[in-house]
Symmetry: C2
């Protein structure tokens, strides 16, 4: 398979799909809408998981595991939530297959093994979890419950796209229970902040923190907080959401607690999640026409060494030459690969690691050994330099920090030049049809206007930014008064 | 809820179920046969996962993720495998629910959203994975593929039991592809050995390594290797299996590779897995009538400190007194909890941590501070001693090693006295009806005899031990000649 990618300018969407497949991140499977996450893609997910899990535990959360299936009667208990997810859920109706008598070797669903009650494959776990929490919570002493789950979920999406939108995806979902509204809101905001920190410091993806409009809110939530990122093609991507669920699920599942004063009150809830979609964001954010560009903090391989040699003896000399430095780097926590495969030529390997976004590449040949040097290549800038091997450890350490900063700054610069304030609907459309990005505009606060704008422009309100300042204005579409600008964009 | 457990002697099975629930490990859910793994139980699973994952990576494996669903046509491709799992699989037939017009607020399956092809919720992933491997493998250069997956699977068991047998469970499944039969067999054996090392060194569970008989073999395998443990009630528990799949899946999914010589050959396969069932084995193996006993290497909390105080000032003095030692222990990797909750009394906490199997408990009161001592209690032996606080770090470190060894030795002793060689069927039945355990007996090698023995005694052949020596003998049931003893037992 050719490694050459379609360019972003030529066809951004095609570029993305090719990159995902050619860099061995993921591929479509034999199951409609479901992907196979390949080892290299999964290694990125493992890095993300490890960091997020650490942050969740540092904020007092524990992991647990709840059933994959939600009985229909539980699924429908919280009406808005049920309505939101019923349209796209996988339903288990039978628990057995049997031999097809008319078609030897084939199987059919056994009609005698029909379930009394259908089971929904979880699209999200509020229902099953709140049905469980009812038994865990009696008094204020049992609160808060701060639980997270790493799991797979299924949403029967009609148009799917590797990582960004798949019928099955992996995610984490936090589900917390609190005795007061204030504490639940604080938790919701805290987790949005955890996500923002993760996105910016680890993924090197700058995000806007904000609140969703009613139309874009999670089904069953009183308020949805989100972090929104901007991709290189000017489209926005929702990277994480944190929901204040009020007492909606507590009421639907009758979860009450006894207060210190002996009264019975409904419990307050939050839920929050990020998914393998983040891998899609990571890819889109930084990569170029040569392939993936990974921020060092999430790169499965941070440094790769490609020996340029003739014959096994020379290979062993190179190995000897570099090994002490690699051990030093490994001891400092740098993940290092020495690629001694004899099945591929150095040039092939260079392309391979460029495609796979390895942040730093070292090449060593005979001349380097004579001179006491190595050739160092940076993936983000595609620059090369020759350095003394004695400086290798310090240089690589410095570079990993620099690259992490550089990819963030580049993304930040892009976003800065792609948030445009507009005050007329013509200007609004012009930006969207032109450079794209976030359009900051006044809006009259109604779902009706939001929908009309979407029909006309395909742009949705990504969020009401938390840092939006009070400002007298008029809705860009209806001219009605407005006090805050919101961010519109076309979105993934 | 009372913390007092039913004793093992009174009712072993009830003791187990109570222990699992009262120690907050897991509970039944609102979904038939599916459990909720509670935070404390899940923390044990996380410790197991971390260690196993490390061992898999050290043996060259990478993680990946494959779809939850297997289309029926793929599921049925490998006939024996399909036959083995068809009887107990959850089947998705629809992808949407809709409002029930006759019953406001209720949902029904939308008959218009029937899938063209039913999807089986994976009971194991050979089918979906080998359908994928077909595209990954062209030549010998693409081999071996050494992939593992951490996932949930569903098997519609009729009689379930927390951790030991549940409709949904968590596991890892390794799926490897090789160019030669020898390499595949070597991999199968290697992974059985990895499992045995994990069971013995981390779970402190001694295991017998062996091969399954044809009747007990994995559906679709040419050979199943296993590790078998013996629980305190004399019943055996299969703790892990590693399958040599021959070319069965390669043939079913047409997966061929080009050899160095340019020939087309079918690929050789293995698969291997352990599951949350291991938590059940861990609990059953070491625990007593007071609750859980955890080997330190898998204990989520290794040391708990219970302060005995009156008023906040005294609590703070105790905290000051102990903190430097706890920091020292944490720096050495010991997981430590200082339980400063004022909602529960020390006596209550002692019982709680005994029930939860925390290996070492420290209690500190006013008198201890005056004397420069702490009171140390060991969970496995239920012994206490007063030691100088200056010796705390060294003592705890030593104790954690000692406890790990002690629980293993105790389990090993038990098993040693519960492997009984018998040469008559009367003796065979007597052992099974008496002390139980493994019965080592000659068997004529036929499935017929195996089944008859099972009908009469409920005992199955757990394995043909790898270290069984050649020995002339006659089948304990039919009197036909036999060259090896096999291990029978009643099993979980």
């Amino acid at each position: 398979m050719s490694k050459k990618l379609t360019s972003r300018e030529e066809d951004y969407s095609k570029w993305y799909n090719e990159l995902v497949v050619k860099a061995n991140l993921a591929e479509n499977s034999g199951v409609r809408g479901c992907m196979v996450i390949k080892p290299y893609g999964y290694a990125i997910w493992e890095k993300m998981q490890a960091q997020l899990d650490k942050m969740f535990k540092e904020t007092g959360h524990e992991n647990a595991y709840f059933p994959l299936f939600v009985p229909k009667s539980l699924f429908e208990a919280e009406e808005k939530n049920a309505e939101g997810f019923a349209k796209e859920c996988a339903v288990v109706t039978h628990y057995r297959l049997k031999g097809d008598e008319e078609n030897k070797g084939k199987l059919i669903v056994d009609p005698e093994a029909k379930l009394e009650e259908e089971l929904v494959v979880r699209p999200t776990s509020e229902a099953i979890i709140w049905n469980t929490y009812r038994n865990w919570i009696e008094s204020y002493r049992d609160l808060p419950i701060l639980v997270n789950q790493w799991a797979n979920v299924v949403r029967w999406e009609m148009r799917t796209r590797l990582f960004l939108r798949t019928a099955e995806f992996l995610w984490q979902e936090g589900h917390t229970a609190h005795s007061t509204k204030e504490e639940a809101i604080q938790e919701t905001e805290q987790m949005m902040n955890v996500y923002a920190t993760f996105a910016e410091e680890f993924m090197a993806v700058p995000v806007v923190k904000g609140i969703k409009t009613e139309a874009e809110r999670f089904a069953g939530a009183d308020e949805t907080y989100c972090i929104e990122a901007l991709m290189q093609d000017g489209k926005a991507l929702q990277a994480g959401t944190s929901h204040f669920l009020g007492q909606n699920f507590a009421k639907a599942f009758d979860v009450k607690y006894t207060t210190k004063e002996g009264k019975q009150e409904y419990v307050w809830a939050t839920s929050w999640g990020v998914s393998t979609r983040l891998i899609g964001a990571l890819i889109m954010m930084h990569s170029d026409d040569n392939g993936l560009v990974l921020p060092p903090k999430l790169a499965p391989i941070q440094l790769v060494v490609v020996p340029i040699y003739k014959g096994v003896d020379q290979l062993e000399l190179i190995r000897e030459y570099i090994t002490p430095y690699l051990e030093e780097l490994r001891a400092k926590g740098v993940s290092v690969k020495f690629d001694d495969r004899d099945t591929h030529k150095p040039g092939w390997k260079f392309n391979e690691y460029e495609l796979k976004g390895v942040p730093v590449r070292v090449a060593i040949g005979k001349r380097d050994m004579e001179n006491g040097t190595v050739e160092l290549a940076r993936r983000d800038t595609l620059t090369k330099e020759s350095i003394q091997i004695a400086d290798l450890t310090a240089t690589v350490e410095r570079l990993l920090v620099e690259i992490q900063e550089n990819v963030y700054n580049k993304a930040f610069e892009y976003r800065k030049t792609h948030i445009t304030e507009v005050d007329t609907f013509d200007a609004f459309k012009e930006v969207l049809e032109g450079k794209g990005g976030f359009v900051s505009a006044h809006w009259d606060g109604t779902t009706e206007t939001e929908e009309k704008i979407q029909d006309l422009t395909k742009a949705t309100i990504r969020c009401i930014p938390l840092d939006a300042k009070e400002e007298e204005g008029v809705c860009v579409f209806t001219g009605k008064p407005s006090k805050k600008r919101v961010l519109f964009a076309k979105a993934y």
